[in-house]
Every structure is written in structure tokens, then in C-alpha cells.
């Protein structure tokens, strides 16, 4: 009969925190920080993860690199000249191109620069298919065509062009002891960052001067989701006679490393959030113990007008729950905001974790209610007579 309705119970419990706003806000701080950390970290790592996945998708999750391996006696085994063409015939392969490094070949502005001042630029011979296979884009000029690939022409990486002082196609540069005409300058490539400091030469032209120049590697691009399948047949396809002497690698190893770093960061931050929540809980216990002491008169009055000990206990546990709720909501909003700001700052799509925010709010209420148990039990045990004498 004397049971309070849910509404009466909640309004009664909300009265305490509402009548001491600044103290209530302060006691919510710890929980708010804990939940904000939790929501922010989960959102930030999810944002990073999403971007990584997008990056890999855009540049490299579907790229394989085939390189020469070693034979049974550990002697180097070059890739057959037919390998690129054979690889292109694999169904899911969308593009493949050989790259040959001209080791020791100098790349200079002109023939007067001493050959000891190479500037770290490299010269590589490439097949014209490379641009399409690896999504290379030109900053200026043109890529190799059937004609220019047979001539002493070069396409420069962006940094190489800077270094050589080349801004417009048509200039000449001194590579491998002969003049080459610059026909184009590349944009920086995420997929093949090493091309940035390279001078690319047409394979057909280079092979006329160096007929024995071996394939350094073959860049292979496949349809999304077929990396594993293609990987399994690549060695046989590239070198049917000696499939074991073929090295195949994928960039996903890099992604795995990145993910491991992220998860270390994440568990560290989750530990931090847990500590903040604990501190928040202690703060709520503190606030509530003080509130119970201060409100002995109110508690006694409630007992006098018929509140049961149990109802007093419920009231104070709920009050603490409200403090938790306030902190949780503030923290969740703050955490989500941080994720959005982070995403904007990193120029990527933020991945706010709404589930974590929801769970965080629930967790805060729970933390509050648990923090309220001890003060609430004390409130319920107070003697009404002594409470009425106080004040």
C-alpha cells in the first residue's frame, strides 16, 4: 500500500542531485572522464582501423609482389622473362608489370656533375603496364607509350624531379651515362613510395643496352578478395620449372603490424578508463556519504512521515545512480565529439562507436548505484530521533 510509484521514486531520488547542482556536477566528473576515454578510444581506434582498411583497399590490399628466390643450393634464381606475361593470364589478375633496378646507374642533372654526387636517386626500367597496374598518376607530361618505351626517355618520380630541377617535360637529364628526355613527372604514389625518388626508364630501351638485366620484381594487382587464391598459384605460374625459387609477398603483413600497435594502445587506454571510472565511483561514494550526513534531518523527517528504511535506501542508491547517469551521458557525448573532431582533423570518416556510448551510459548508472550502496545503507540505518534532533 505504501509502495511508491516508479515516478514518485524517481522524482524523489532526483531531488537531491537537483538541489545541489554544482556538487552533483563535480561528483559526475570522474565517471564522465572514464566514459569519455572509453568512447573516444574505441571510436578513434575504429576510425584508424576503417581508414587503414580503406587505404589498403585503395592501395595495396590487392597487390602482390613476386621476386626472385633461391634455388636448392641457395643460389639466386632469376625470374623467367616470360613470367609477367604468364601472370597476366591468371584470371583475377588485373595487371602485372616487371621492374628492373639498374644498380649503380647514376641519375644527374647533366654530364658535368661528378658521378660521386648521386643524390640517392635510382634508375629503374619498367614495363608500360606498370602505370595501369599500380594506379600511377602523372603530375605533368605523359606515360610511356609503344614508341617512347623504345627511346631514351624517362618519367621521373616527384622527388626525383624536384631534385633534378625538372619542372616541365622536354628537359634532358643524365642517366646511366647517356642523355634521356623527360616525358613526364609522377604524382607521389602510395602504393609504390619507392618510385618517388626514381627515374623510370622504358624497359625496351634499357634492354637494348643491358640485354642481361634481370627482373627485380613483378608488381601484381588482383581483384579484391582474391589475394589468397592468386598467391597460391603465383609461384607455379611465374616459374613452372622451379616454383620454390619464387618469393611472393603481400602488404597485409604491414597491416597486421599496424593493428597490433593499435590494440596495445587500446588496452592501455581501456585500463585508463577503468581507473577513471573507479576514481569516479569513489567520488560518488564521497559525495553521497556527505549528503547523507548533511541530510540527516530530511531523512528523519521522511521516516517520520512514513518512509520505510528500504525506501530511504532505494532513494539514496538511485540518487547515486543519477549521478552516474549524468556523468555517463556527459562522458558519452564528449567521447563521441572527440571521435568526430579526430576524424575531421585526420581528414577521414569518423567511426563513432554508439554501442560503446550506450554501454558506457549503462555502466555509469551501474557504477553509481553500486557506489551508492554504502551511503544508502547508512542513510537507512540512521535513527530518526537523532536525525530530528540535528540541525
Amino acid at each position: 500500500m505504501a509502495r511508491l510509484t516508479v515516478r514518485d521514486t524517481l522524482t524523489t531520488a532526483a531531488l537531491g542531485p537537483r538541489s545541489r547542482v554544482s556538487r552533483s556536477l563535480l561528483s559526475m566528473l570522474g565517471v564522465a572522464i572514464g566514459i569519455a576515454t572509453l568512447v573516444a578510444i574505441l571510436g578513434i581506434t575504429a576510425t584508424n582501423e576503417a581508414r587503414l582498411r580503406a587505404d589498403l583497399e585503395a592501395l595495396g590490399s590487392n597487390v602482390l609482389v613476386v621476386a626472385p628466390g633461391q634455388g636448392p643450393n641457395l643460389e639466386p634464381v632469376p625470374l623467367p622473362e616470360t613470367a609477367p606475361e604468364m601472370i597476366r593470364r591468371i584470371g583475377p589478375v588485373t595487371g602485372a608489370a616487371a621492374v628492373r633496378e639498374l644498380e649503380g646507374a647514376g641519375v644527374f642533372r647533366n654530364d658535368l656533375v661528378p658521378s660521386t654526387m648521386g643524390g640517392g636517386l635510382t634508375a629503374v626500367a619498367v614495363q608500360p603496364e606498370l602505370a595501369a597496374a599500380m594506379d600511377l598518376h602523372l603530375h605533368r607530361g605523359a606515360w610511356f607509350d609503344a614508341a617512347s618505351v623504345t627511346l631514351p626517355t624517362t618519367v621521373l618520380g616527384a622527388s626525383a624531379a624536384d631534385h633534378l630541377g625538372v619542372s616541365v617535360p622536354g628537359q634532358r637529364v643524365w642517366i646511366d651515362d647517356s642523355w634521356y628526355a623527360v616525358i613526364g613527372v609522377l604524382q607521389p604514389s602510395g602504393l609504390m613510395p619507392d618510385l618517388d625518388r626514381a627515374a623510370l626508364l622504358g624497359e625496351d630501351w634499357v634492354l637494348t643496352g643491358h640485354p642481361d638485366l634481370a627482373i627485380s620484381r613483378i608488381q601484381v594487382r588482383v581483384q579484391t578478395g582474391t589475394v589468397e587464391a592468386v598467391r597460391d598459384v603465383l609461384d607455379d605460374t611465374a616459374n613452372p620449372g622451379m616454383p620454390r625459387a619464387v618469393g611472393v609477398s603481400t602488404p597485409s603483413q604491414l597491416a597486421d603490424a599496424q593493428r597490433a600497435v593499435d590494440s596495445t594502445f587500446q588496452s592501455l587506454a581501456l585500463g585508463l578508463a577503468a581507473v577513471a571510472l573507479l576514481v569516479g565511483a569513489i567520488g560518488i561514494v564521497n559525495t553521497m556519504v556527505i549528503a547523507v550526513l548533511e541530510r540527516r534531518g530530511e531523512i528523519a523527517l521522511r521516516r517520520a512521515v512514513g518512509a520505510r528504511a528500504l525506501q530511504i535506501r532505494t532513494q539514496f542508491m538511485l540518487e547515486a545512480g543519477f549521478l552516474g547517469l549524468g556523468g555517463g551521458v556527459a562522458g558519452a557525448v564528449l567521447g563521441l565529439l572527440v571521435v568526430v573532431v579526430y576524424g575531421t582533423w585526420q581528414k577521414t570518416i569518423p567511426a563513432p562507436n554508439f554501442l560503446a556510448a550506450g554501454v558506457g551510459v549503462g555502466l555509469s548508472v551501474l557504477v553509481g548505484v553500486i557506489a551508492g550502496v554504502y551511503p544508502a545503507v547508512r542513510a537507512a540505518q540512521l535513527s530518526p530521533v537523532e536525525g530530528l534532533r540535528s540541525e
Binding site: L15, G306, Q311
Partner: protein
């Protein structure tokens, strides 16, 4: 007990109260018998420290006697659970204290409503009765005033409204004029003594106030010294 057809509103039977203190046991009430009939108005008067407040707390089931029985509406309370005793208070008793005990963050109506929160009455009914009770104590125009916006006498009126709004059987008032000046105190006593259809027990150390009531229970050192009707009290004089 068989003499009256109707049970007393509240009754003490052989009640004693002993506190354990650092310097041994302190007996504050000794074998007190007291019955307050329904609708009866009585003053309990005695010097400070004579055990009046203790008696009122025990009458109001806020404290348990060390020995003896407390009955509310004829029902013994000793064997009741905390919940049952709380329900008895919420339905049958109303309290008025010297320090008012109003919630400072709530306005007059909310304070009076609080007195009915644990009665099981619905919100709307509580509101209606609160406004009604405040009107009865002359504060119909001050419903939304907070305690800090009210004088001491007005605050005590709010407390009285809170004590009567649920139509209890007994109003128990402990030194209700103790924090008020004399004129205001007199008005509060007028208000309490003017309450109809409810037993009123007013505790005071002031014989002048006690003289206003039809019955005077004089208490000294935890014992009932005299239990007088108005006429007898005047004859017995004001020596307490």
C-alpha cells in the same frame, strides 16, 4: 480498556526508557501510562530534560521503549516490522517539530505533499490535499513560496499543514512554539488547538501554553506527576 468502547488514538502502557551512557544507564521514562482519546487535545508539560521529547518519539513510534507497550489506534506496535510501523506513521500520525524540518529546496506545496508521499495517495490527490491543508492554515496565497521566503510562524504553519493533510488520528507537536516569538507562538497554539476531528498532543515546557489545553499531563524526571483537566490545572497552580 474495557471501559471505553473506542480504542485510544495513542496509548503508552507501562513505558520505560533507559539509555546506556558512558556513566551508566540513564532512565528517562519510568513506567508511564498515558492514553490519548480520539479527538482529544492535550499538553504534556514539564521542565527541560524531564523526558517529554523521548515520550513523544515513543508515542510516534520513532523510538522503541525499553519496557512497556505502545499502541496506535489500539494496535500494539512492538511486534510490527519496520515497514508496518512506517505505514502506521504515514496513515495515523502527524508530526510538528520545533525546527519545522521543511525541505529548503521545495516550496510550501511540495513540502506538504512530501508528508503524503509514503501514504499511497496518488499525485493529484496529494496535490489537492496539500493545497487544501495550506489554505486551512492560512497560507492559501503562499503555495509556491520556499521556506526561506516565509517567516518562522509561516514555516510552522506549513509544517502543521504537512502534519494534517493526510487526516491522521493524532498530531504530535514537540515544542512547536520554541523557535517563535510569543505572539506568533500563540497563533500557532490557536491553530493547533483549533484542529477538529484529530487528537493533538503538544509538548511544551511553558505552563501558560499548557493552560490553553483541556488536558494537561505534567511530567517530571520521567514520571507523570499529574494528569489534569483544565479546571484541575488552574486549581493546582502553575508550579512545575
Amino acid at each position: 480498556m474495557t471501559h471505553t468502547a473506542v480504542a485510544p488514538a495513542v496509548e503508552l502502557r507501562g513505558v520505560s526508557k533507559t539509555y546506556a551512557t558512558g556513566s551508566g544507564d540513564l532512565t528517562v521514562l519510568r513506567d508511564v501510562d498515558l492514553a490519548i482519546a480520539p479527538g482529544e487535545h492535550a499538553a504534556i508539560v514539564g521542565p527541560s530534560g524531564s523526558g517529554k521529547s523521548t515520550m513523544l518519539s515513543i508515542l510516534g513510534t520513532l523510538d522503541a521503549p525499553s519496557a512497556g507497550e505502545v499502541l496506535v489506534g489500539g494496535r500494539p506496535t512492538a511486534a510490527m516490522s519496520d515497514g508496518e510501523r512506517s505505514d502506521v506513521r504515514s496513515r495515523s500520525l502527524g508530526f510538528v517539530f520545533q525546527q519545522f524540518h521543511l525541505l529548503s529546496h521545495a516550496d510550501a506545496v511540495a513540502n506538504v505533499e512530501l508528508g503524503m508521499l509514503y501514504t499511497g495517495l496518488g499525485r493529484a490527490e496529494r496535490r489537492r490535499r496539500a493545497v487544501d491543508a495550506l489554505t486551512r492554515v492560512g497560507l492559501g496565497e503562499r503555495l509556491d513560496h520556499r521556506p526561506t521566503q516565509l517567516s518562522g510562524g509561516e514555516q510552522q504553519r506549513v509544517a502543521i499543514a504537512r502534519a494534517i493533510a493526510h487526516e491522521p488520528a493524532v498530531v504530535l507537536a514537540d515544542e512547536p512554539t520554541g523557535a517563535l516569538d510569543q505572539a506568533t507562538g500563540t497563533a500557532i497554539i490557536d491553530l493547533l488547538d483549533g484542529l477538529a476531528d484529530v487528537a493533538v498532543v503538544v509538548i511544551t515546557h511553558d505552563l501558560v501554553i499548557a493552560d490553553r489545553f483541556a488536558r494537561q499531563v505534567r511530567i517530571r524526571d520521567g514520571r507523570i506527576e499529574a494528569d489534569l483537566t483544565a479546571g484541575e490545572a488552574t486549581a493546582a497552580g502553575s508550579e512545575v
